[in-house]
């Protein structure tokens, strides 16, 4: 006949074994996770998985499973987009642009305010009338050259910030 205390001891040993083995499994799982992390880190950075392409070979940017961009684009690419885009810049500059260069970097489909559009990612560079250079990036409608977004504008640090540009109030506004 096994005494109650022996049963309790055997039970306690079993529980302890169970806890130990669970912890060991957990530890192993964590170590596995660590090692896979290390493997992930050790993968050369140029291991590239190209995003899916649509029928025209145009990349559909599915930004981290953003389902909206799966819809077909509304617009159709037109080679004239670049002329239109350049015209937009020239109009705004008052024809002061020099050496305007629009370098196409990337073509893809992007959701713009709920609409899917074929777009061109471009790098714009030009000089002003003082021969000073400016560059920025723009996302442009592949059909009509409309500007959808711009980014990477320069950060300019003038020697004298008091000479920064602005507009003077018309003297007809008498605020004194």
């Amino acid at each position: 006949m096994i005494s109650r205390s022996k049963i309790f001891t055997i039970f306690a040993v079993l529980v302890l074994c169970l806890v130990w083995s669970m912890q060991n499994m957990k530890k192993k799982a964590h170590e596995l996770a660590r090692s896979s992390a290390v493997v992930a880190q050790a993968v050369p950075p140029n291991t590239l998985v190209f995003p899916a392409s649509n029928k025209n070979g145009r990349e559909v940017i599915t930004r981290l499973q953003d389902k909206q961009t799966q819809k077909a684009p509304s617009n159709k690419p037109d080679p004239q987009w670049q002329d239109n885009f350049e015209k937009i810049l020239v109009i705004q500059s008052g024809s002061k642009l020099r050496d305007l260069e629009v370098k196409k970097l990337h073509s893809f489909v992007w959701s713009v305010g709920g609409q899917n559009l074929n777009v061109e990612s471009v790098l714009v560079s030009f000089k002003n009338e003082k021969n000073e250079s400016t560059k920025f990036n723009a996302l442009v409608d592949s059909q009509n050259g409309k500007i959808i977004q711009t980014w990477n504008q320069p950060v300019k640090d003038p020697g004298n910030p008091r000479e920064n540009f602005g507009v003077k109030l018309d003297p007809r506004y008498n605020n004194e």
Binding site: Q41, P45, S74, N144, P154, D157, G159, N160, F165, K168
Partner: protein, 849 residues
């Protein structure tokens, strides 16, 4: 002859150690042997011989600017760099065979891994140089002082120092962040190494699609007059010149080199979350726009601070900016400051009192990012000093400078990477982004750029809320428990920056309060909301948004207007050209509006492009600071007809009522969580049932009543017979006559994309913005950041009445950010698509002939 005179220089001289003084004396004595300055390129005069190879890869450098090494009397008009170069002891420049530098960063993530990028820096003279300078036949980089090559070598030397220091501190930050338990939400991604987003490279095979170059170019004698700059689209650094002083160059001042590299560093940190090993977000986050805003001020303040990280001096630009009398201090103890400032709690350079303060000209306010950024640099220097004294590092050989500034880079990288997160995830799974379509930051990946740059752009409030959270999490909670939450909040408050009620650290989704971090990443548990201790808020005064109005709403003076109109043709053309030169195209409509229609009558007329400057009025007893006004599309209408997209405006204030055609129920009771524009869907041929609509409505007369309607409804019911192609913003080419992004509800008047938000530094109690800032400025100019730009269709009949519903919030607003209905938790990102966080400012105008 210009003589650089800076009060700060005297201060620095007082602090120069004896050793430095002796070294400088020795330098002067040695340099006197070779007084000739600009030896022609290619000359070998006075160059050390390297026959035994002991000077391999070395070049002549100046460690500091002439103003620091030479003192106040150094003249910019006859500057000779020879005395500032210790020719007997040249410094290592690069072991590469061309004048380029290499980068490397160590990543500790369950083991040590390092990554190196060869030729990550290229040092050129100006934009006509396309080839890097080759190493000389004797294997040195020693060129005559003052030569073009000499400056290229010096630029590389200092940029490389800045880069090495950044990677050293980032390695520390990365290790500390990722040594914390998995349960702690982190922003700097664990996959930073595989994504390559620690430099301007991104996914390797896509480099050419994201950056022009995968290396940082430095132009030591750039073509820019009176300017230095960082150009992220290059990426490049540019160090300009002064047209009147042929031997003066910005590159002669290493503090300016560190400042410009500081901008590059900010750009990197803002975008650390914007790529993985396999894909990159198509945009990159900026910190700042054109003209004045607080994001730009933060960028300048951090860049100034980086100069302090590098040279330990609490003053920047003694030489390069000193020539313009514009150098800047970074500590209240600097003698350049007005006497009221000191390092006591009361004497700190606090927000918003000193936001427009120029120590070089303290009586004339200036609304400028560089001077506004002084509050940031002063706070950061003060915080660094606190770390030095309270974190057990003061006994280090350098007084704890290296360790304390590493803590700061940890805080900056965590903060900026969260603020600039365009993938909108906020956190990650173990080694990769989580896969759920749940977002915790900047709304969602499609609209994140709009959110982070415009709708909920980075302000002092937003930045310092995240920064305080990270101090609590990483400094108090990990590396320095001696610097506790109260001390952190008190220091922020000393600077008037305790502008938030909680740390917004509970991790709600951008679109649903019921979704938290743990729903996306199970090993990150639910987070508690950390409240700010209200006892610590003494100087940071919060004000209700109800007390902000346009000037006409409160003032009876006929000379005070609610909105200034600028429609002078020359002014507008120059403004548009300047904006483009700053890199901000504002796409104008062709054929329906243009500056040729501008008549300069300071009214809105058909066909004009006008600048609108709201003259906001503060009716409270405290200063309002960092006022941001939006004129972009938002959810303020109830779409009544999906075939036309026509709508009723929602009742969002007491100005537009149900009697005037507004709707108080239906979709007006909620805010749309997905941002969609009111544009026809081409597959269904219907407009969305819920959408963000343009801000400007038109008054339509029908019978004896009038009501506010969409511009699309007006053009059809008022008999204008305007076709789509006669509308603003319509554009086609030969392939299709349809413009798929055309919005017919902005056919008649619209704020131009890219110029549809405005920023105002502060408005004093019972004053207008004009009275607070512009009236006492030297030029009486409005800052470009104050302007909204609108175009008006040439076919709009004179007499047509418009109402544009602009939205305003400000940095020290008590009821713009937290939701009383949700235990004062911050509003979700999607709520910034609606009226709740804002005060609606109505811009009413008639079109005049």
């Amino acid at each position: 002859m210009i003589v650089v005179r800076q009060r700060m220089i005297k201060t620095n001289q007082r602090h120069l150690p004896l050793g430095s003084a002796l070294l400088f004396a020795a330098l002067l004595a040695l340099s006197s042997c070779n007084p000739t300055e600009v030896t022609p390129t290619g000359s070998r005069s006075g160059i050390l011989s390297n026959k035994d190879g002991s000077y391999d890869n070395m070049g002549y450098v100046y460690e500091e600017s002439p103003a620091i090494l030479g003192g106040a009397a150094v003249s910019a008009s006859s500057i000779n760099m020879a005395p500032y170069v210790y020719r007997k002891y040249p410094k290592a420049i690069t072991s590469n065979t061309i004048l380029t530098g290499n980068c490397g960063m160590n990543f500790y993530f369950y083991g040590n891994y390092s990554d190196s990028l060869d030729n990550c820096i290229q040092s050129l003279g100006n934009h006509t140089d396309f080839q890097s300078l080759p190493r000389q036949a004797e294997n040195t980089w020693m060129y005559p002082t003052g030569s073009k090559e000499f400056y290229q070598v010096n630029a590389l030397y200092h940029v490389q120092k800045g880069v090495d220091t950044f990677f050293e501190k980032m390695a520390y930050a990365y290790k500390k962040i990722h040594s914390l338990p998995l349960a702690v939400p982190k922003s700097v991604p664990s996959y930073l190494r595989s994504s390559n987003m620690f430099w301007f490279t991104g996914v390797s095979s896509l480099d050419s699609q994201i950056f022009r170059n995968s290396f940082l170019s430095s132009y030591s004698q750039c073509e820019a007059a009176n300017n230095a700059s960082f150009d992220p689209a290059g990426p490049s650094l540019c160090f300009g010149y002064h047209p009147s002083y042929p031997n003066f160059f910005f590159v002669q001042d290493p503090s300016i080199i560190y400042h410009e590299f500081g901008h590059a560093m900010v750009s990197i940190m803002m975008n650390m979350r914007n790529g993985t090993a396999t894909e990159t977000h198509p945009f990159r986050s900026n910190l700042g726009k054109f003209g004045f805003d607080e994001a730009g001020s933060l960028n300048e303040g951090i860049a100034d601070y980086y100069s302090y990280v590098m040279n330990k001096r609490t003053h920047i630009g003694e030489w390069a900016l000193g020539l313009y009398n514009q150098s800047r201090p970074m500590s209240e103890s600097d003698s350049a400051h007005v006497p009221a400032l000191d390092t006591t709690s009361e004497g700190r350079l606090s927000y918003p009192q000193y936001i427009n303060y120029d120590p070089n000209n303290p009586n004339i306010p200036i609304e400028d990012v560089h001077y506004g950024g002084q509050i940031v640099s002063h706070y950061m220097v003060a915080l660094t000093e606190e770390f030095k004294s309270q974190c057990g590092i003061s006994g280090d050989a350098d007084g704890g400078h290296a360790a304390a500034t590493s803590y700061m880079v940890l805080l900056l990288s965590e903060t900026l990477s969260e603020l600039g997160d365009l993938n909108a995830k906020g956190i990650d799974d173990f080694t990769i982004p989580f896969t759920d379509a749940t977002y915790f930051n900047n709304l969602d990946p499609t609209n994140s750029f709009l959110w982070t740059q415009y709708v909920n752009k980075v302000t002092y409030r937003r930045f310092f809320q995240v920064f305080a959270k990270n101090i609590y999490k990483y400094i108090t909670g990990s590396v320095c428990s001696g610097f506790d939450k109260n001390e952190s909040e008190k220091l922020l408050d000393d600077y008037g920056l305790l502008l938030f009620k909680n740390y917004n650290d509970n991790g709600n989704s951008t679109k649903s309060r019921t979704l938290a971090y743990t729903n996306a990443v199970p090993f990150i548990p639910a987070q508690a909301l950390t409240p700010v201790s209200e006892n610590n808020r003494r100087k940071s005064v919060l004000v209700s948004k109800t007390l902000l109005n346009s000037a006409t709403a409160v003032a009876n003076s006929s000379s005070t207007v609610g909105f200034y109109i600028i429609d002078n043709r020359t002014d507008m053309q120059n403004l548009l050209a300047d904006l483009l030169y700053k890199g901000f195209p504002v796409p104008l409509s062709t054929g329906t509006a243009g500056v040729d229609y501008n008549n300069g009558n300071i009214k809105v007329s058909p066909g004009e492009i006008v600048a609108v400057i709201p003259n906001l009025y503060n009716s409270s007893n405290s200063t309002m600071a960092g006022v941001h006004l939006l004129a972009n599309d938002w959810d303020h209408v109830n779409v009544t007809d999906r075939t036309t997209g026509n709508f009723k405006p929602c009742v969002v204030d007491t100005v537009t009522t149900v009697d005037q055609g507004a709707e108080a129920a239906l979709t007006c009771t909620t805010t749309e969580t997905d941002y969609k524009r009111l544009v026809k869907n081409t597959s269904t041929n219907l407009f969305p049932a819920n959408a963000a609509a343009p801000v400007c409505m038109v008054q339509l007369e029908s019978g004896n009543s009038t009501r506010w309607v969409s511009q699309n409804e007006f053009r059809r019911k008022q008999g204008l017979t305007l076709q789509d192609k006669d509308c603003l913003g319509y554009s086609t080419t030969g392939v299709s006559e349809t413009d798929f992004s055309f919005n017919p509800h902005e056919c008649l008047a619209r704020f131009l994309p890219g110029a549809s938000d405005a920023f105002f530094s502060k408005i004093n109690p019972s004053k207008t913005y004009y009275e607070t800032v512009v009236k006492d400025s030297d030029s009486k100019h409005f800052n470009a950041g104050n302007l909204l730009i609108m175009e008006v269709n040439k076919w709009v009949p004179p007499g047509t009445k418009f109402r544009c519903r602009l939205r305003a919030k400000f940095g020290n607003c008590s009821d713009c950010y937290t939701d009383a209905a949700n235990a004062n938790d911050d509003y979700q990102d999607s709520e910034y698509n609606g009226p709740k966080p804002y005060k609606v400012i109505n811009f009413d105008f008639d079109v005049n002939d």
